[in-house]
């Protein structure tokens, strides 16, 4: 994936020079290992700031919401699916965008790597499929496929679904992936077990809403958790309120979530918030044969109503 960067810079420079876009949204090198920072450049002289590696896990569709400029955006598979959703939901217009598609081979899980070592990880490099982790007094080589973010390891849409330029040839999609084994495991639990499972899952939540804010789907002017009339949820650490937040957030993403993993990546306390959305993704697939952001001109199933929709209660 490192090889992509030249092509990305070349395209970005061309787009800026030709005046086709006002800015290019991409990543710049972070100040920490395994961290890149979403950023923009408006000047073709700055294209060298743009980077691309296995630490670009943030979903860049999030940075397009309600922008008025013409934007060149670097988009891996999940980003492009969220861009599709953004276009459908009027968050940005298609003709504002030049999508620089990046076929993706997955992002590495920095939390997983951090947890593998007792002392601080100070440097991480990648070359091909090998990732080298260095710290005070240690160095270890890891296989990239072993340290992928969970969502990336299960991804079947690595190639962008919608793009104007391509930074590299398309990659082979993963096949025979069991994406919902974990969901099935939870589905099989008794109600009591499930309850306990989810209680434990969200116990560390500090209600910073990083999961919500990292998600490109969450763009309401006022989130329901911030509404005061009526006040749907309280502001304290009350467990019912926390639970309500997580459940409702997930439901608001039903049929729209691309499993980009931004929520989980952003959580400062490491909650596996995708456990909620995965279940709804699975249900949407099972019930409506639907995957979010794949069809550029079709609204998600829960956004439409037909009298013929399944559900005897309608009659």
């Amino acid at each position: 994936m490192l090889g992509y960067i030249d092509k990305i810079r070349e395209i970005s420079k061309r787009l800026l020079d030709e005046g086709r876009v006002d800015m290019v949204v991409g990543f710049r090198k972070g100040s920490m290992p395994m961290m890149n920072e979403p950023s923009f450049i408006k000047n073709s002289g700055e294209v060298s700031k743009l980077v691309w590696d296995s630490n670009c896990g943030i979903n860049l569709a999030n940075y397009l919401t309600d922008r008025k400029e013409k934007i060149g955006v670097i988009a891996k598979g999940c980003d492009s699916r969220n861009i599709v959703t953004h276009i459908l939901e009027n968050k940005i217009k298609r003709d504002q965008l030049v999508i620089i598609g990046v076929p993706c081979k997955g992002m590495i899980d920095r939390r997983l790597i951090t947890a593998m070592f007792d002392t601080e990880v100070r440097e991480v490099n990648e070359k091909g499929d090998t990732v080298t982790v260095k710290g005070a007094g240690f160095e270890k080589k890891l296989k990239k496929s072993d340290i992928l973010q969970d969502n990336c390891s299960k991804c079947i849409h690595r190639n962008p679904v919608l793009y104007d330029e391509l930074a590299a040839p398309l990659v082979e999609e993963q096949k025979d992936i069991d994406r919902y084994a974990e969901v099935r495991r939870i589905e099989a639990m008794s109600p009591q077990e499930k309850w306990q499972y989810f209680e434990d899952l969200i116990a560390p939540c500090i209600r910073c809403y990083a999961c919500r804010n990292a998600c490109p789907l969450c763009y309401c002017p006022t989130c329901f958790v911030d509404e005061s009339r009526p006040q749907w949820v309280g502001k304290s650490q009350d467990e019912t309120d926390i639970r309500t937040f997580h459940f409702l957030r997930a439901y608001h993403c039903a049929g729209r979530c691309t499993d980009c993993g931004a929520c989980e990546r952003a959580c400062p306390v490491g909650i596996k918030v995708r456990q909620f959305t995965s279940k709804l993704n699975k249900d949407c697939l099972d019930m409506f044969g639907w995957e979010a952001g794949v069809l550029p001109d079709q609204r998600p199933p829960l956004d439409t109503f037909k009298p013929a929709d399944p559900g005897d209660f309608i009659k």
Binding site: N90, P221, P230
Partner: protein, 888 residues
């Protein structure tokens, strides 16, 4: 009705309209003793009593007359054997109905007349005063008694409990109406009501008790004696002599049964032009049929008067709406007793007393019947006098009564949305009958919730919209054509959408009416009339492929031969018909001599010479009807088969004709045909559903095996033809149902707005129903319903403008995220985006109040919480939840 005493000055019943007292001249001392007494006149503060009121003769000039003089229940006094006059515990069904009624003399408590004892065993005798030439002159079937007897038996069990033994003695069980057969089956199987096929001859008192003894013969031929606490005579309907007199004066022809004579193709026209008939005077019938005829008669009158429409009407003066802006809520709470329906369980005064303590409540009271006219007027007075600006009625369901109370508010100058109902009947007194204390508590909770909500209600505006004056009729059968004809004659452009290649529908397949009219001839006349009418546009080979819009403004796409046209129309009538069932039993399809009724009709129509060669014919009834997977009676087949049997007998009087049946259902005056058939020597053999006849072609003949119910032996009939009276199967059209958002029942028939009071329309505004798509019915009833649907449609079209509901959604653009879910999800296309160039809130969603139906889909799906449903606002619902939480 002789069940209880009433005073010489009385109101007929508590909800009577108009609710005025009247003097019973026959029992008033003033009138009996010529001027003595007169106390009422002295005491009446308004001077309303006037003994000198004389009959006045008023002359009215009218364009048309509709006769609906009704019927009298048969008086069984003449039956000596039943000793109705002597035995207090022998009652008529009407009397029993009063005993069951909450507004009746016993307030719905089931007791017998002689000793106020709760009966343990009750018997119903069917056909008292019907189907009887010996003791009375009424040889017709009264059509309604079987069904009402079952209903009474079921309700009696509901009142008295499971242990009550109910037995119905009958000849044929005639449950031919929509959903009736299912009710009958449930009564039998679930409620355990006994049905005994026997006409009981005599009722004898049991000496020393008030009980009644009867003897009857069971189906197996056994003689039995049984004692009942009470016997209900299912008396028939008959036309009063004075009505027959009236008819004579008017020069109107009557039938043998003294009903008004009508033609099949003009079911509500009397023999005199301009005079129409409906109700039981047209023939014995139940409520839905009476309602259908009534609308048909209105339509018939409208057809001849359409040029004078709106020339004589007066408009009600609108009451100016009080502006309540900035006023503190002043809530009035009216708690309804609903006779004993509510008060019998819930402590109504306690609820009313409690309501006084609630915030903003300025006035509370309880009413015997909140829906009665005087209470309505009184409520309006109270609203004005107490300066109430919000009203709660704790009574029954808003589904039926909210519009009534809202009108009361309007009449009192209040915006009708400043109103809330608490359903303390259907959701309380009815379901918690056995727990009055908790029911009272629940009523208190419901009232508290309603008060909390109503305090937050605000006046809502209704939008006005034009009604497109064009009509669309889907289906060009006899019902659809009748509807179209009536609409066109009343001045409305009408389109008939017919999927087939010609008009006519099932009527094309039928030989003649039971009254002897030639259908083909009449039908071609009608088709001719339709085709020539300039206002009617016939689309053959056509189907509706999509429907947008709503009442007053539909937009339908009609696809004809691959060509699509968009038609704008204000109303739609669904008349998609039904067809004949093709059975797989009785070797049908394997031998040309085994045919359906319609196939036999075809032979008649073609004057098939082979008919003359038949020596023996067998009819088998209920083929595909009244069976577990098709639990309805097809209504037309008994009459049809008997008529055809008679025709065969006419062709060859020596022919052996057998009708194998389960119950003969020649309701109303069709009964004469049954009688005639028997007179002609047609043999009727009853079979039971679990022991069906067998049909086997054997050489020259077809052998039909059937078990004779009297002899209990298997008979073998030799037949030349076997006619199967097959079921009427609806053309189940789920797509159309979805287009117009109208429901279909399990059998595939459309579900009307109300089984009794709204038989020819749907709950969806602007969509109407007629013909076989509603339920199997003969031609006269189809035509009547076609006209009725037209009449119902005209009431809407004539308004030209309609008001939409004030209960609609509204966006709060500041919170809107422009995601477009509302735009995508709305079935009525009400939400849209504000233009990008707009000064305020460009790109945010807005809702067209005219298009919004208040369904709430957008409200529920808006993630940003930017849409509110007026009248069901979050505040209001939370206020209710908060009050509910106090109950726990």
């Amino acid at each position: 009705m002789g069940l209880a005493k009433r005073k010489a000055i009385y109101v007929q019943y508590a909800q009577a309209v108009p609710l005025k007292y009247t003097i019973d001249k026959a029992n008033c001392i003033y009138f009996i003793k010529k001027g003595k007494c007169g106390a009422c006149k002295k005491i009446c503060p308004t001077g309303a009593v006037d003994f000198d009121q004389k009959e006045e003769i008023v002359t009215l000039n009218v364009g048309s007359v509709i006769l609906s003089p009704g019927f009298a229940p048969f008086d069984p006094t003449v039956f000596d054997a039943y000793q109705y006059a002597k035995l207090p515990n022998v009652v008529t069904a009407m009397e029993f109905e009063r005993v069951l009624s909450a507004s009746g003399p016993t307030m719905g408590h089931l007791v017998r007349a002689s000793d106020q004892k709760e009966p343990k065993k009750i018997a119903w005798f069917q056909c008292v005063g019907s189907r009887d030439m010996n003791k009375c002159d009424n040889s017709y079937c009264s059509s309604v008694c079987c069904m009402y007897a079952i209903k009474e038996a079921v309700i009696a069990k509901e009142h008295a409990g499971k242990d009550l033994d109910c037995a119905v003695f009958f000849m044929d069980m005639r449950t031919h109406g929509k959903e009736f057969e299912r009710f009958y089956t449930t009564a039998k199987d679930k409620h355990g009501i006994r049905f005994i096929r026997c006409r009981v001859h005599t009722i004898n008192p049991v000496a020393g008790t008030d009980d009644l003894e009867i003897r009857y013969i069971t189906e197996t031929g056994e003689l039995k004696t049984e004692i009942f606490d009470q016997i209900v005579l299912s008396v028939g309907l008959q036309i009063k002599p004075e009505i027959a007199e009236l008819a004579k004066r008017l020069g109107i022809e009557l039938t043998e049964g003294r009903f008004c004579k009508t033609e099949t193709f003009e079911p509500v026209a009397t023999s005199r032009e301009g005079i129409f008939v409906c109700g039981v005077f047209q023939g014995p019938k139940d409520i839905p049929q009476a309602v259908i005829d009534a609308s048909a008669a209105a339509s018939a009158a409208g057809e001849i008067l359409s040029e004078a429409r709106n020339t004589l009407i007066k408009h009600k003066e609108a009451v100016t709406e009080t502006n309540i802006t900035g006023e503190r809520p002043r809530i009035g709470v009216f708690v309804c007793r609903c006779g004993i329906n509510i008060a019998g369980v819930v402590d109504v005064p306690k609820v009313a007393e409690y309501a006084k303590t609630l915030p903003y409540v300025e006035f509370t009271t309880d009413n015997l019947y909140s829906c009665s006219q005087d209470t309505q007027e009184n409520m309006a007075q109270i609203i004005k006098k107490e300066r109430l600006n919000r009203v709660v009625v704790a009574a029954c369901t808003p589904k039926t009564h909210e519009p009534l109370f809202q009108e009361t508010l309007t009449n009192a100058g209040l915006n009708k949305y400043l109103f809330e109902m608490a359903n303390i009947r259907n959701q309380d007194s009815w379901v918690h009958k056995s727990n009055p204390e908790l029911a009272t508590e629940k009523a208190i909770d419901l009232v508290r919730m309603a008060v909390a909500k109503v305090a937050l209600m605000e006046p809502l505006k209704e939008a006005e919209l034009e009604v497109n004056q064009t009509a669309v009729v889907i289906g060009g059968g006899i019902a659809g054509m009748s509807a179209a004809k009536s609409l066109a004659k009343q001045g409305y452009e009408t389109h008939i959408i017919e999927k087939g290649k010609c008009l006519g529908g099932q009527a094309l397949n039928i030989f003649r009416t039971p009254k002897g009219e030639d259908i083909a001839e009449k039908l071609s006349g009608l088709v001719d009339e339709i085709t020539k009418d300039q206002k009617i546009h016939v689309h053959l080979d056509s189907a509706i492929t999509s429907v947008d819009g709503f009442v007053g403004n539909f937009k339908s796409t009609i696809s004809s031969n691959g060509k699509n046209d968009v038609l704008e129309h204000g109303i739609a009538i669904i008349a998609t018909g039904a067809s004949a069932f093709k059975p797989s039993e009785y070797n049908y399809g394997k031998d040309p001599r085994i045919m359906t009724s319609l196939e036999l009709d075809k032979k008649f129509m073609e004057k098939d010479p082979s008919l003359k060669k038949i020596d023996s014919a067998v009819f088998i009834q209920c083929v595909g009807s009244r069976e577990p997977d098709r639990l309805y009676c097809s209504r037309v087949c008994c009459t049809h088969s008997i008529d055809n049997a008679i025709e065969l007998k006419k062709i060859n009087p020596d022919m052996n004709v057998y009708v194998l049946y389960r119950d003969i259902r020649t309701y109303g005056e069709r009964e004469y045909l049954y009688k005639k058939a028997r007179g002609m020597g047609i043999i009727f053999i009853r079979y039971s559903v679990d022991n069906k006849p067998e049909v086997k072609p054997e050489g020259e003949k077809i052998m039909v095996g059937v078990t004779d119910h009297i002899l209990g032996r298997r008979l073998s009939l030799e037949a030349d033809i076997v006619t199967l009276a097959t079921a009427v199967i609806p053309n189940r059209d789920e797509k159309l149902a979805n287009f117009f958002k109208v429901p279909v029942n399990d059998d595939g028939f459309f579900i009307e707005r109300h089984a009794k009071l709204g038989p020819s329309e749907f709950a969806t505004d602007g969509v109407f129903l007629c013909g076989l798509a509603h339920y199997p019915k003969p031609i006269d009833e189809s035509i009547a319903q076609g006209m009725a649907a037209a009449s119902r449609a005209v009431t809407l079209l004539a308004r030209k403008k309609i008001h939409t509901s004030g209960t609609i959604a509204e966006t709060m653009p500041a919170v809107c995220s422009s995601c477009g879910v509302c735009v995508s999800i709305c079935p009525y296309s009400a939400p849209s985006f504000i233009e990008e160039t707009a000064r305020f809130f460009p790109g945010k969603a807005q809702i067209n109040p005219v298009l919004c139906k208040g369904c709430g889909l957008c409200v529920a799906s808006c993630r940003s919480g930017a849409i509110r449903l007026k009248g069901f606002d979050n505040d209001q619902i939370f206020a209710q939840i908060y009050e509910l939480s106090k109950a726990v």
